[in-house]
Symmetry: D2
Amino acid sequence: MRIGVLTGGGDCPGLNAVIRAVVRKGVAAYGHEFVGFRDGWKGPLEGLTKPLGIAEVRGILPRGGTILGSSRTNPFKIDGGVEKIKANLAEQGVDALVAIGGEDTLGVATKLNDLGVNVVGVPKTIDNDLNATDFTFGFDTAVNIAMEAIDRLHTTAESHHRTLVVEVMGRHAGWIALHAGLAGGANVILLPERPFDVEQVATYVTKRFQVEYAPIVVVSEGAHPLEGQMALQSQEKDSFGHVRLGGIGQWLAEQLEEKTGKEARTVVLGHIQRGGTPTAFDRVLATRFGLQAIDAVHDGDFGKMMALRGTDIVRVPLIDGTGELKTVPLSRYEEAEVFFGS
Amino acid sequence: MRIGVLTGGGDCPGLNAVIRAVVRKGVAAYGHEFVGFRDGWKGPLEGLTKPLGIAEVRGILPRGGTILGSSRTNPFKIDGGVEKIKANLAEQGVDALVAIGGEDTLGVATKLNDLGVNVVGVPKTIDNDLNATDFTFGFDTAVNIAMEAIDRLHTTAESHHRTLVVEVMGRHAGWIALHAGLAGGANVILLPERPFDVEQVATYVTKRFQVEYAPIVVVSEGAHPLEGQMALQSQEKDSFGHVRLGGIGQWLAEQLEEKTGKEARTVVLGHIQRGGTPTAFDRVLATRFGLQAIDAVHDGDFGKMMALRGTDIVRVPLIDGTGELKTVPLSRYEEAEVFFGS
Amino acid sequence: MRIGVLTGGGDCPGLNAVIRAVVRKGVAAYGHEFVGFRDGWKGPLEGLTKPLGIAEVRGILPRGGTILGSSRTNPFKIDGGVEKIKANLAEQGVDALVAIGGEDTLGVATKLNDLGVNVVGVPKTIDNDLNATDFTFGFDTAVNIAMEAIDRLHTTAESHHRTLVVEVMGRHAGWIALHAGLAGGANVILLPERPFDVEQVATYVTKRFQVEYAPIVVVSEGAHPLEGQMALQSQEKDSFGHVRLGGIGQWLAEQLEEKTGKEARTVVLGHIQRGGTPTAFDRVLATRFGLQAIDAVHDGDFGKMMALRGTDIVRVPLIDGTGELKTVPLSRYEEAEVFFGS
Amino acid sequence: MRIGVLTGGGDCPGLNAVIRAVVRKGVAAYGHEFVGFRDGWKGPLEGLTKPLGIAEVRGILPRGGTILGSSRTNPFKIDGGVEKIKANLAEQGVDALVAIGGEDTLGVATKLNDLGVNVVGVPKTIDNDLNATDFTFGFDTAVNIAMEAIDRLHTTAESHHRTLVVEVMGRHAGWIALHAGLAGGANVILLPERPFDVEQVATYVTKRFQVEYAPIVVVSEGAHPLEGQMALQSQEKDSFGHVRLGGIGQWLAEQLEEKTGKEARTVVLGHIQRGGTPTAFDRVLATRFGLQAIDAVHDGDFGKMMALRGTDIVRVPLIDGTGELKTVPLSRYEEAEVFFGS
């Protein structure tokens, strides 16, 4: 068989580990051939390819990003997109595709598979907000980077008797904030799933100062206060229409400074959470996803996506990669709340 | 309630995270009091205690080791040991114990619980060889440390066209070798579960040199060759009867040097795998174990041990912490083997 | 002798290493006694003390921040400040002070020493902008943290064909940007010492895209474009009068996006550069400063400050810690420029 | 000009940074061409080359090892070696060589330069034992790796009330032990420069246990006890004539266990000290050495070697790279000794 591989959406530590595992096992165990498509669905759409064999995947396991490049191109939003993809796959002699990506990438994969293209999917979301799998790769790396930043900020907070607000990734789901906050010993953790009361946050912060231990507040970029508490939306975009750095984090630091009478500072971790070398957890998970994906292709088991259940890698319908978000359940948040008050 | 806490067996990153979670929730949510027992079962046996409250657990989350100290003391091997423990617990006014430890510590916990002492257990094994739980804390940290060492060794191996043998922990189960080897891109991984053929290993190594990519061999300290291939046992102990550093690793490097004609070197990671700050995964898992443990104590649900199943923390019978080892199944080893040949 | 110790100004990895060395050698070699003053000059001003002996400095070497706390209090700006300090020192029986801090802290130290208070200084500036010494501690840690962030951002930049602008500390001197940029393989480095031409920067960035290697631009927070190129000052402060996160970095990313036609993103490293555990270089330098400082006190050699010259720790007049800034010389910038064009 | 580049001797973090700087500046500033010679002096001796241009040095700055490979081949020990080198250089059209290496490599460089080959040298020794320069690259990385290992071992030592002996690199000079020991808060540091009294070491260790703070002993691989204290030489080699892992470290741990009555364990850091990504200090130093080296070539200033003096990179005679070892002076050891007793 000749198999195409592509990566779509935001980059995520572990993408290269998936690519490598697919190719290494595909060649060694099954004798398949591979072709890389560049920049997500843009690759098969525009016929942009890259050689992909044992030599090309040598040494990429510890590297972040993706050697294939990525984009957010959606062929279903382009006139004749599907036909172009089919034509390019035919021209390349590609029998099947391994598509590695998030909700959007897998949504395209699902539809293409329904339209007769042989696709196997590997889920990728640094936010860990996918119902079908216990964890996605990239998440563990992001949490560790955020935790290490929080570890560093503790000593600054203590030495200066300051509040430090750490804004982490997570527009719709607070998994990174929850895990990094738990791991980093945060005083308060604020998630998109649960509007927060800024007065209550200020009370927690004050309480922490009273025990002479300066507070760290971890906040998801998508968290927001109770209705009526924030009236700064107009300032949240700059003259280019970009969201300003330090949206909710900076707003919160200002509020806390005012309400607690203690200096507050914000750190927005941003892109350093998603780049660079993956943790062992993510390298192993991504590798196992890749191995299972090439097995699925070899078995002709298309329309499937890889998932982690307990310690097993299983295959689930591709459509499961595009459904409802896995948000942080109340029980997990309450578990963490016990640390807020002291 | 007044609750005693102790840690037994080899140290493991995450022990302090458990202690902290137990105390923080115990005080904040339930108003319990705590007393620390020093050095595992030696503490209640000899009445060695340590104050344990919110102040004592402040700042210990990121610290490796255990603030309570540890030992391998077994009260059932000491005359009147159980009676002494009961007397000391009574004297301290202790209603229940949280025992954090491995097979030996939990074995004692099980027996004491049967004899009427209220005990809740938290499992700890850096080797991840416990059937009752998907993962134990400390394992992820050990794997990451080993992986980082392997990452470093790659460039030396390549620059000098040398084989590098990395000996990692794991006397009876090869989980650390398997995961660190997968994550580090090892050429060959050797486990206690499966005697290896040193000729086959030499063939793998030679193949890797042929593609101009120097090989890393990851070997569990408990791995051993096929019967008859090793005749060095007499040299494995030094004049003090201690096992020499570089047992199987050094032997293997010598064999590979001879059989492949390429220089080989050994690195024995040893104790650096078990010390120091835990990863985020281990801090979160240990914290969640601690939270569930104090809930179990509060519920009067004694004789139970905490376990991870998928993403849930559940309570299982204490006895499950002391049963058969969870060794690496053949399927997981075969999964990894696909990388050996190329 | 009875010796007071204080730390002033912004926190900096290595402060605790200085305190520890002063106390360890002071007690072990000379039999002196110590008292800690809290929060910089606020401590002696208001008589805020903290016990300081061997026990208190145990285990603090690897910890960031300062166990004594810090502040920017200046006793010369407070009515009767000097008299209060003298009175409090007398009351505490303090014969001499070790003051660890930056320009402001050492400025106070210099004046107090002239007024008859026995002071020895240890210089501290994370920005490395002190003429009297080859390096200051904290700088190496900050550079490593920034470099690791840049390492991580490379893979994101490449995978997404994006420019990444990394804003690092340095209001008046560009040492962190220069060293982190050199170490991180930046495409362009922009410093406060040299107004930049945004058109030239865009040309460099475009050139890097042409060789299919996405650019990283490292910019000091205090860097600024040629006169007339930036007209956004009014937006640089928020409603609280705080400088917005992403000042120059965000502005530059927007400019580059517009001028190059390639997406650009900003990361502002902020406080993570100054917290957390020090590197070996900083621990050794801080320790050696501390050892030399207590020797100076013991010798009665007051009015002096510690400095690194080559591999030696020497004593120079305290006043040298408060003079002209050591900015990046043109020759060092030109050295780096050779990497910009390709 | 057409310039050859080679790396010889043991690998060292920063070699690739030198190669990259030489090539980047050579091409961009001077328009020179380059050819890489493989595996040290073996390359020009046997005519083994590798293309070396901007593309080849892309992305190698953060990588350990050397993309050119290394060996210990000495052409002066081979019949007609010099003539072969001259012939191969002529055939390749090479006008000058940049030789990056330690004492042996630079010794060959010196002799060849005297024989009319145009050579510029860049010194490399992870041991930092070169008189001509304040520091060599690779040393800072090795010290940080050793320090991080020591940091990790502290918690194990404390939790188990054990002595931990850490054996670090340094056969003839104790710089790594001195700096890693100072940075890691070692209880005792033992160097090749100063035979140690094992009784005295045991006294220090016992003293540390008395203050309830478990001791870390850092020992250079080349350290040795006072005459007569060690009678184990015959056991130091295995059946292949290799030096056993854990030579002095393991011996010392056994002695300390016996003399102090406390368990002791050894960790031999070995090759992980010399592989992997360089620290910022080493990347900057190596880059600056490379920039100065290509300037020297361009200037026709042959027979020189690069050196760090304070914050300047200067050129010194090549012969300075091969003279007397820079060992740890007594004053630096005494500086550290103040921490041993408590």
